[in-house]
Subunit: 400 residues, 2 copies
Amino acid sequence: MPESPEPSLAEQPDSLPGNSVGLVKPQVFEFEEPLELSCGRSLDKYELIVETYGELNDTKSNAVLICHALSGNHHAAGYHSTNDTKAGWWDDYIGPGKPIDTNHFYVVSLNNLGGCDGSTGPRSVNPATDQPWGKNFPPLRIRDWVHSQARLADKLGIEQWAAVIGGSLGGMNAMRWALEYPERVRHCVVIASATRLTAQNIAFNELARRAIRGDAQFFDGDFMEQDTIPREGLALARMIGHVTYLSDELMGLRFGRELRSGSFQRGLEAPVEFQVESYLRHQGDRFAESFDANTYLLMTKILDYFDLAREYDNNLVQAFSQAQCKFLVVSFSSDWRFSPARSTEIVDALVAANRDVAYTEVDSAMGHDAFLLPNPRYESIFRTYMQGIARKSVNARSQP
Amino acid sequence: MPESPEPSLAEQPDSLPGNSVGLVKPQVFEFEEPLELSCGRSLDKYELIVETYGELNDTKSNAVLICHALSGNHHAAGYHSTNDTKAGWWDDYIGPGKPIDTNHFYVVSLNNLGGCDGSTGPRSVNPATDQPWGKNFPPLRIRDWVHSQARLADKLGIEQWAAVIGGSLGGMNAMRWALEYPERVRHCVVIASATRLTAQNIAFNELARRAIRGDAQFFDGDFMEQDTIPREGLALARMIGHVTYLSDELMGLRFGRELRSGSFQRGLEAPVEFQVESYLRHQGDRFAESFDANTYLLMTKILDYFDLAREYDNNLVQAFSQAQCKFLVVSFSSDWRFSPARSTEIVDALVAANRDVAYTEVDSAMGHDAFLLPNPRYESIFRTYMQGIARKSVNARSQP
């Protein structure tokens, strides 16, 4: 429970890639002051688990906040041990010489409130009952995340973020920052996101929730008390998400109609299985072992409820008129969950609100997942924009 | 078990719409000769439940076969009783004066083998065990349906169909007819279909199957013996299908982000629900009460396995070179499960094979479901094509 951040960058062994932030160690921050939530309840105290990469400069003007998406967490870059086979979820974009360059920026990445990777959430103990919160964890809104993140910034001594950056749900988080604390954000980077979900998006989330709730091991959310997890439901929920995050084209390229084994020979009665089926099952099963079902329900409801303009007379232009920062908006051509049309809605409203915005639609076959994956054009645009921020960030605190 | 069809058109009461085929009564046909299946097994005997509309002419040249889609059945038009609130699933397109005009055509519509609405399928008794087939019903291919339908045609005295017509899975069935029995099909109408599924399509089917198999009440397919049904899983499977059959645009138009009840007021902890969520649940729950889970698994596997060109060196042109009939191919602009691109693959191969084909992409916001729904342009194209067949069908038997 450090009050000020300890360096979380440990010594980097030879075995890790040279352009990685190397070994990192998460830190847990405790917050003892009650947090009033949008639902009307409050959390008396809570913890946030955080990773930081790079060094905060003397003027504290080079801090960047990373906002994660539905199934993300604080581990955005680097490795937790030399045995790790996988780096953090955005390691392609955060590190020395990468678009979010840790030679220039002090990068802060946390697991959001309500998460299941170390921050206070349904798996945590409710101090009032000494039992895990489980399904009784308060419903959250993205605004609540922003407020908790602002307190984290306070603890870190960061008055103003050089940039708040997020993809998908994280992009919603970043936009909300720009409206809630206009003076604390210099740049807002919104990737593969939207100001609110479409009915189709809500429908897919409802399918995922129904998969979880329909699992007999869910026990109406009280599965922890029963010492079990709704493994099947959670796996299916993830599979539903996964299919929709990929594009039809990508799935065709990656799997085609390849069979996993066997063939169509006559007499064969064992179920013939396509590669895409076993891939999805593997993804779903792996996810089910680590993610919390109540967190999944909580997070998808946060997604569904989010509507950036609701408190601004449902007028996006009026909403964005609150912002003082500059914006970079990025979309991907084959993303049909958060399509380019959703991004141009953001851009049009920003332009109408007379805000400074750069926009690009990146050509990609990767669907919604594109925001996580290597792509030369995306990297180049992202890098150029971040370099512009870095050049100005030394003396930037007074230039919103 | 009539050997020849009885008139299935009962007296039409005043209360039913005037342009309806009126009251209809399904007939069950029994087949005692074993049917060799693609899987190498055979069915010693089987039944098909059938509805017919209109009158077979003297030259038996005006018969049209309707092939149903995944959740369809024999009840394509008319009403089963004057209390019916809903007509058959394609009543907008089959009836006097409608595109498939029963004043001209003798329309045959059956529940496919493996179905759950009266034809032999998983719910039927396996004569070898005196128990329901359940999960042990043989895996089928569309070719097996075509062979069983050919025997039905024999019983009805129909040597050659004026047209074989189907949407989606039914379109695959119709195309297979044109290759299996080229001399028995004069016209093939393929609507919102494809020569094989994409990896994304297979993935969605796998999600639906996993939903069913993951239901604790599925009992590895033996739910009948347990006197239960996998209601939750089947409902979720249907919901997954349903979301993908609609377009994003249609869902936005129909549901927007309307809330079912309540609002976002502070303090509200009951789960706020969007209209689209309750709609989907209702659709899923209703389906789960009537459809058989083993049939759903069987049918989706038939869809996945289907590959029109597999036995023709994976060459669609070579495949369609077998056909002797003329083709009408129709797609819908917002259909992303069986997109217009899938239909143009069919058309391009037909043209390369020097077959006679008419094609149109109909502008519609209705997604894949468009093939079932009223649409002036679709109706007009369909009607015109069918009128062309009707004009020639009186003496048509010798003119393939």
